[in-house]
């Protein structure tokens, strides 16, 4: 057993309103540069739809991900090492920039500099590749909200595999949003395909990164990623991808897409897994067994054996604690409602999704039935083959059972919590019907519906203690034997201004936990007396104000 930690994400699709705030903030932070204008490390697709880049899920066309070879050995779908090297001069599976879209800007200058005339001036779209006028025919979310889907949705690779014919007519359709980032897979095909060895998975947190100095621009990663989440910067000639905002993650902060998500639907946390088990799990023969195989790779962070093994690997205690408190572990392993996107690509993706119940609820409510009644919802999940089969095509290689199970749990939560909120006697049969208890349903409700910031993001800081200490260093004279030795910066030491109050706090507040730490009172080192000169701003310590004589009269 080789215990490794993976920083993972889960998105609760029921809460996604398709506002693209995640995409926009991600773009502002990472890809507002020449060469990656067309790249969206985070994008939001409307499903059913053909996605971005167009038809990226059609692996017969793009040859992304892994397949099982003749002798049951896992190999890249585009071919073995020799074949890949022989294709290095021209990657036959590389998407063209037009498969994403031709980036453009507008001739804004025209609006202010055009001479006065009878017509209002117009800002025409100009291609960012050629600088010439262009007609915009496609973009990153051209079929947003099913716009134009009557023409394009038929090319949706998931719809094509479904047994039933889906009418893309306005009244009969269903839709939901699918935000996507890099999956930071446990068995990343992009890393395996990089001829230069410039892509790697970080040992500490599993984040998949491109070494921009080592990248030689062979483009094999772009085509090997079945999610098409590695982009070729056509200006620098290097590959770029979602970094899971590692500079933020290292400081214990959530990624920019998570932080700015207005629906608060993203969860970040650690998942412990057995790195030695990954290859065997990804080599399971049947596509539909891959979900369970991947779940079996995950380790129980409460298991003493796992904890011992993790410590033997040098994992810090606060990381193990974070893995125990991880919302990801709860949603994947405890409640079993989160599912991976396209497990059949065999990359062992680590951004999972809670499938949306809303298509089912919408149909039930529109038909005049009670959209919050457990039995109605259970029946609808069984009956509404089209949305369920479609979700199964996305999240479980076409196996409807895990999707149904997940949806039934969401439906049970909906019905059970309504009773509670209305003050009715909660019906324990509802949680029991989905193998849960009222207690666990309520805990799940707190995580999914209340979704407090500190519950959604449980991110341990990277261990760079010495560097951080330096950053927070108060006084450069405050060294051993130095003139400022034992100044107010040193905790518990007596300085020229008397005793300090509590532990010194950092000069910068980096995350939520530190902020709450600062807002809560700190104990003075000399009880009963506070020297305001040394007060570190941490709340209101005892003794700062004279005691209130009578609680009643003070009001």
């Amino acid at each position: 057993m080789r215990v490794m930690a993976q920083m993972s994400m889960i998105m609760n699709l029921d809460k996604c309103i398709g506002c693209h705030t995640c995409s926009v903030t991600c773009k502002q932070v990472w890809t507002n540069r020449t060469g990656v204008e067309y790249a969206w490390f985070n994008n939001v697709e409307t499903r059913p739809g053909i996605g971005y880049p167009r038809e990226y899920e059609n692996q017969e066309k793009w040859k992304g991900g892994w397949v099982l070879g003749k002798r049951g050995r896992l190999q890249l779908k585009a071919g073995g090492r020799l074949k890949k090297l022989s294709q290095i001069f021209n990657n036959p599976n590389l998407p063209q920039i037009d498969d994403y879209y031709e980036p453009w800007t507008y001739d804004y200058d025209m609006l202010t500099t055009a001479p006065a005339g009878t017509q209002s001036p117009v800002a025409r779209p100009k291609s960012l590749l050629t600088g010439q006028n262009m007609d915009i025919k496609w973009s990153g979310n051209w079929d947003d909200n099913l716009g134009g889907s009557q023409e394009t949705a038929a090319q949706d690779p998931i719809l094509a595999t479904m047994s039933e014919h889906v009418k893309m007519e306005f009244e009969e359709t269903f839709m939901f949003y699918l935000p996507r980032i890099c999956e930071h897979c446990l068995n990343p095909a992009c890393v395996a395909a990089c001829p230069s060895g410039a892509m790697y998975k970080r040992e500490e947190d599993g984040i998949v990164l491109v070494d921009e100095d080592g990248c030689r621009g062979w483009r094999m990663c772009v085509s090997a990623c079945p999610y098409k989440k590695v982009y070729f910067n056509h200006k620098t000639g290097k590959a770029e991808k979602c970094t899971l905002c590692y500079p933020l993650i290292e400081q214990g902060k959530p990624t920019i897409c998570s932080e700015t998500c207005v629906g608060r639907l993203r969860y970040l946390g650690l998942m412990l897994y057995d790195a030695d088990a990954v290859l065997a799990a990804a080599s399971i023969e049947n596509d539909q067994d891959l979900l369970d195989a991947q779940r079996a790779c995950f380790l129980d962070p409460f298991d003493p054996e796992v904890i011992a093994a993790a410590k033997a690997e040098g994992m810090a205690d606060d990381w193990i604690e974070a893995a125990q408190n991880s919302p990801i572990y709860k949603l994947i392993s405890e409640y079993e409602i989160a599912l991976p996107l396209h497990p059949e690509y065999r990359t062992m993706p680590m951004v999972w999704y809670i499938p949306p119940l809303s298509p089912v609820v919408d149909v039930v409510s529109n038909s005049g039935s009670d959209g919050e009644d457990a039995r109605t919802l259970f029946a609808a999940i069984d009956k509404l083959r089209i949305p369920v089969e479609y979700l199964a095509g996305l999240f479980s290689a076409g196996d409807v059972v895990p999707v149904e199970l997940s949806l039934r749990k969401l439906a049970a939560m909906r019905a059970y919590m309504r009773d509670l909120n209305l003050g009715n006697e909660p019906d324990e049969r509802i949680p029991n019907a989905v193998g849960m208890t009222g207690e666990s349903i309520q805990a799940m409700y707190r995580l999914l519906a209340i979704a407090k910031y500190e519950d959604r993001y449980v991110i341990p800081k990277a261990h760079v203690e010495t560097a951080r200490e330096l950053e927070e260093l108060g006084c450069s004279l405050d060294t051993d034997g130095g003139p400022g030795m034992g100044g107010p910066g040193a905790a518990g030491h007596s300085g020229p201004y008397g005793n300090t109050v509590g532990m010194p706090l950092g000069a910068t507040v980096d995350n939520y936990n530190e902020m709450t730490g600062r807002a809560s009172p700190t104990a003075p080192t000399t009880p009963g007396r506070v020297n305001l000169l040394n007060w570190n701003g941490g709340g209101v310590p005892k003794g700062m104000f004279p005691p209130v004589a009578d609680a009643g009269s003070a009001a």
Binding site: Q96, I97, G197, R202, H234, T236, T466
Partner: protein
């Protein structure tokens, strides 16, 4: 033997070799980020699909031929039973095949670079200079082969050009060997030498990144955040080291 002979066949090749070696070392040290093939495949693939493999496989064969012809002395090959006649046949016909592949590929590539607007706009000045010398080297070499080897009586460059090159590398340069070489061979040698001079400053550096290590490394690469190589692939440069406390430094 004039001063020109010394200049063209001794000074210039040595200068070019020096720039080639030192230029590559410096660029590798200081411009890892710029070390790429700068592919334009995402802009245009219809022509590149044919042109690029044709050119690259062609030029690899050409390079192989040059190594055999220039660096392996005649007697060595004869020891292995490769007679003058056999060598001439092989060099001319295999060489012609490789040349056709290379020239056709290069033609497609230059046509594409010039006439595809997207590709033209990302072509740098250095790219254009490099294209001139690359194309003229290939062109003069092909012309020489066609003129002297196919339609002419056959010129034994293994008696003049090859020993001259080896004389350079044994540091006993003999420019006299080059003075009577046919004109197009001379031109070919001169443009090629200029190309080597320019090489480290062009995108041609990608040749030295041929990823042969891919064949033997494990599929999934793990790297630690605290990799001694720093965040990137190289050691931090002077003045850019990570900050560390004085105590930490003492402990080392």
């Amino acid at each position: 033997m004039t001063a020109w002979d010394y200049l063209l066949w001794v000074a210039f090749p040595y200068a070019a070799s020096g720039v080639f070696v030192v230029g590559h070392l410096l660029r590798y040290r200081y411009d890892q980020f710029g070390w790429t093939s700068r592919s334009s495949q995402t802009y245009e693939n219809r022509l590149l699909r044919w042109g690029s493999p044709m050119f690259h496989y062609g030029i690899l064969m050409v390079i192989g031929g040059h190594v055999v012809g220039l660096f392996i002395p005649k007697p060595w090959l004869e020891f292995f039973g490769v007679t003058e006649h056999l060598y001439h046949l092989g060099a001319t016909w295999l060489g012609t095949f490789a040349a056709v592949l290379t020239v056709a590929g290069l033609t497609i590539l230059i046509y594409r670079r010039r006439l595809t607007k997207r590709v033209l706009l990302v072509t740098t000045v250095m790219d254009k200079v490099m294209y001139v010398f690359l194309a003229s080297t290939i062109l003069f070499g092909t012309t020489a082969t066609v003129l002297y080897q196919i339609f002419g009586g056959g010129y034994d460059y293994r008696g003049s050009i090859s020993p001259w090159i080896r004389s350079l590398y044994s540091f006993q340069p003999d420019p006299a060997l080059m003075s009577d070489v046919p004109f197009f061979f001379q031109l070919h040698v001169l443009t090629a030498t200029t190309l080597f001079l320019l090489w480290p400053f062009t995108r041609l550096v990608h040749v030295f990144s041929a990823p042969l290590g891919y064949l033997v490394r494990p599929y999934v690469v793990y790297r630690s955040r605290d990799d001694p190589r720093g965040a990137g692939s190289r050691a931090p440069r002077r003045g850019w080291e990570k900050s560390e406390s004085p105590l930490e430094r003492l402990r080392k």
